[in-house]
Amino acid sequence: MDAKPRLLTILDAVTALMMTAATIMVFAYAPMEAVMGPVQKVFYFHVAHSWVGMLSFVVAGIAGIAYLRTKNMKWDIVGLATVELGMVFMLVGIVTGSIWARPIWNTWWTWDPRLTTTTIMELIYAAYLMLRQGIEDPERRARFGAVYAIVGVISVPLTFFSIRIFRTIHPVVIGSGDAGAEGSFDMTPRMLQVFFFSLITFTVFYFDLMWHRIRLGSLAQRVEQLKLRLSE
């Protein structure tokens, strides 16, 4: 498994192509939004990052369940990989959201449900990593990580609803939602195309990165096993 699989190389190339295309589309193809100006273009990648962040945390929960059912270490590697990726993507999502909010809402930060929830998600998965760090035995580490990932992924929608009951000012992009939210806008067909293309691109990017990160995880596991065997 040391050699890089052909399929992965192809996936790398496809991802690179799509990323380039998406970037070009954002800057050259998507129209300028009439009120917000250029900053609106951040939105395409911002939403894509947040989406991938969400996706990866859901995957973490699923990997947790799968680990507890099968006790197969592969699922632990998947869980750790997806949490790490989720943290990176979610961080970008939060920071870009904040940058977008500054000119539009006139503030870097608001305690709106999505912002707050995503921030709490980051904290949950930071706690996940700290929990793992505190446990030497790989089998127990995997078990506890899986349990915490499940607890975490269940608490996230509840967190969202709890803050949702406060009034939100985050624009609801898809669906009619509260139309009065400041900074919402109607997407032209071109905008929609760019938007969905970005989503697809970043989803592909996620799976590409996951593959790499899982390979890294397997390698780390081999090294850890070697160390344990030598310390015997």
Binding site: P138, E139, Q225, L226, L228, E232
Partner: protein, 244 residues
């Protein structure tokens, strides 16, 4: 057979702690499990006591297999580990009553009296366990383990941390327990102590049982020689294997 273990393998990550261990104990035997530190004695006992799972292999206790029939196995087991498993803020009687309820022991009050008498703590039954000496705690621990009349008693280094007198008293309790027909497996690294108690001696090293001898087959004062020989042959076998 009270305990039947077939081809037991336990790995921690890549580390093989128990390799193809075979172990059988008949009803009423008192087996001393000897071996150097790190041989896997404690791990093996934890698997027998259902606290840890085997990676591979078959474990049957009193006819029930682990881990599928863990609840039935647990009912048949009394366990003494190197920790007391007692609550310091409760007295002897309360500790026993608590465990008695967990095991659903019938006629609990009478049984508690019997057990306290057996381990010689009737006088101090109302004292908090945290005020007990190490030896008294250990005797109560054994009382706790036999409370529900288990058919199998597992003990991990029961003499650890006890002085000479406490050891003698503990041995007295253990002989009495053995005389009641419990099947006992005890790990120990104290050969002299084990020699005075057990009816059978097994040497566990490098993750499997290397040798086993009945007390009756043992020459006078021959346990040490037997133990040394078992360890040496195990080392020799390993050297041979790695030379190949």
């Amino acid at each position: 057979m009270m305990i039947e273990v077939r081809r037991l393998i336990k790995r921690f990550g890549p580390k093989l702690v128990l390799r193809n261990l075979e172990f059988n104990v008949a009803q009423g035997e008192f087996v001393a499990l000897l071996g150097p530190n790190g041989a896997g004695k404690t791990t093996f006992l934890r698997i027998l006591s259902s606290l840890s799972r085997a990676s591979l292999g078959e474990v049957r206790i009193a006819g029930f297999s682990l881990p599928h029939q863990a609840a039935q196995v647990r009912q048949q087991l009394g366990v003494v580990s190197h920790l007391p498993l007692l609550y310091g803020e409760l007295n002897a009687e309360e500790n026993l009553r608590f465990y008695g309820k967990m095991y659903a022991v019938p006629a609990l009050d009478r049984r508690i009296n019997e057990v306290l008498k057996l381990v010689g703590l009737s006088q101090r039954r109302r004292d908090l366990v945290r005020t007990y000496s190490r030896g008294m705690q250990q005797r109560l621990t054994i009382g706790r383990a036999v409370l529900h009349n288990p058919s199998v008693l597992l003990m991990d280094e029961p003499h650890t941390g006890l002085d000479q007198d406490a050891c003698e008293m503990l041995d007295g309790v253990l002989r009495e327990v053995a005389a009641q027909g419990h099947t006992i497996v005890m790990t120990s690294h104290d050969l002299a102590r084990a020699a005075g108690l057990a009816s059978r001696f097994d040497v566990l090293t490098r993750g499997s049982i290397q040798a086993s001898v009945q007390r009756t087959d043992l020459p006078e004062d021959g346990l040490l020689a037997f133990y040394r020989q078992a360890l040496e042959s195990a080392t020799a076998a390993r050297v041979e294997r790695s030379a190949l």
